[in-house]
């Protein structure tokens, strides 16, 4: 058995199931758009206060919507014990983690592709404002989905799964959230670019650490 083919098979299955059900993407989109709309009502268009808060608004929308998507993604696998079918296949369980992270990143990017243009309209931004920020967006999404895929798998096996996931996930993700919001603020400000390297290095570093640790732990969180 080729491990890469197996990982790809799981990703393709996840995407196919989502294309049929659409419950992850729709729940994430609705939540993300509501967050953006509410903040849009709060600030005057073009105000400096708005400009300063945009990074926070953006990441609140992405992370909270992502939390919802990660929760749905794992709960779906545990409904009718479908995850056990995958666990019975001849693949090392850590590779299932890689497939799950990739699927979740794809779902989150799908949501972001729709949310970003809405942000441009709501918060008086330009496309050129957002272009340098796409790399940071990917790194933040990867780190959050990486940790979230592990914790959502853990929380999906508990009774209070809806509460358990954000309680576990957000404190652990603080370094990623901090680095992502700070990098975004620096990039959108475009005046103070001195610190950007430090924040991006921090983001890459925490992404790498979290992904490796979660990869090694995934087998144990599936243990009964």
């Amino acid at each position: 058995m080729n491990t890469a083919t197996q990982i790809w098979t799981i990703i393709r299955k996840d995407v196919l199931v989502e294309l049929r059900s659409k419950d992850i993407i729709i729940s994430m989109l609705v939540f993300g758009l509501i967050v953006l709309a509410v903040f849009n009502f709060v600030f005057e268009p073009g105000s400096s206060a708005l400009r300063q808060t945009v990074p926070g608004i953006l990441w609140v929308a992405i992370l909270f919507a992502g939390n919802l998507g990660l929760h749905r993604s794992s709960v779906r696998e545990f409904e009718n014990a479908m995850i056990q079918g995958v666990l019975l296949c001849p693949i090392d369980r850590s590779y299932i983690y890689i497939a799950k992270v990739t699927s979740n990143v794809i779902f989150m990017i799908g949501m972001e592709i729709i949310i970003l243009p809405v942000m441009v309209v709501f918060f008086d931004l330009t496309v050129s404002d957002l272009l340098p920020f796409l790399g940071v967006l990917f790194l933040g999404t990867l780190g959050f989905a990486g940790v979230g895929s592990l914790f959502s798998t853990m929380s999906a096996q508990t009774k209070s799964r809806e509460i358990m996931l954000p309680v576990l996930l957000f404190p652990i993700c603080v370094p990623i959230i901090l680095a992502a919001t700070k990098s975004t603020a620096v990039l959108l400000d475009s005046q103070n670019t001195q610190d950007i390297g430090m924040w991006i290095r921090l983001l890459i570093g925490f992404d790498a650490i979290f992904l490796v640790v979660c990869f090694l732990l995934f087998d144990y969180v599936l243990e009964e």
Binding site: M1, K13, R20, L87, L88, C89, P90, I91
Partner: protein, 230 residues
């Protein structure tokens, strides 16, 4: 083929299995009987690598359960009362997914299996639209897709209609004829006594009987189960 030595499993203070030891040879058909909570499902979960034993050793096809679980999984087929099927995918897509996970060619094996379980005409239909019996038949196709040398069946007849149960029994007979080892848990004493070559009985996580089926009478087995339940 299956070697189990002093396997124990506990969940907190609850001792689900205690020092279970037995061997099942190649081509043997062993039935595990026991009342609810006796430890049958826990044992099957351990042997299918879904759960780790708290202590003890087990090997399947010579592969150590803890060290070579990936190798073991390519040699076993598992069917339980859960179908492990994705309701949003069609019957064909479900089998194609598992076929690719086992690294086997998609055709003609998948189509042939769908014929065998009588679902070829519904292969493009979403599993969500299937009855419980149809889902179990498809689940059986999933379990034998990679032609496993060992079949682990955990109460496979639960919730099946007569047609689906007959189909499953025929498939188990065919598997035995092809020298497949079968380990099945069931509450159906009559079925186990008439079909299995070996009877294992669990009571409160302990093995209380391990005998060839022909050495036991149905009445004796039923009485033991009634006694263990009281």
């Amino acid at each position: 083929m299956i070697h189990v030595e002093n396997i124990a499993k506990s969940f907190g203070h609850n001792q689900a299995l205690q020092n279970i030891s037995f061997d099942v040879s190649k081509g043997e058909y062993a039935a595990i009987l026991g009342v609810n909570g006796a430890g049958k499902t826990t044992l099957v979960k351990i042997l299918s690598t879904l759960s780790r034993p708290s202590s003890g050793i087990a090997t399947i096809n010579g592969f150590n359960l803890l060290k070579k679980s990936v190798d073991i999984r390519s040699h076993i087929g598992v069917m339980t009362h859960n179908s492990f099927l994705y309701p949003d995918l069609s019957a064909l897509e479900n089998l194609q997914f598992y076929a690719q996970m086992y690294g086997i060619s998609l055709k003609p094996g998948v189509d042939e299996l769908l014929h065998v379980v009588g679902l070829y005409h519904r292969k493009y239909d979403s599993v969500r639209t299937f009855s419980r019996g149809m889902q179990q038949r498809l689940s059986l196709a999933r379990a034998v897709l990679h032609k496993p040398q060992i079949l682990l069946l955990d109460e496979p007849f639960a919730g099946l209609d007569v047609k689906a149960a007959d189909m499953l029994k025929n498939l188990i007979r065919d598997a035995i004829a092809e020298d497949t080892t079968v380990l099945l848990t069931t509450h159906d004493v009559d079925f186990a006594m008439h079909n299995a070559s070996r009877i294992l009985m669990l009571h409160q996580g302990q093995l209380m009987e391990d005998s060839p089926a022909k050495m036991l009478s149905i009445e004796t087995v039923k009485q033991k189960l009634i006694d263990s339940a009281s």
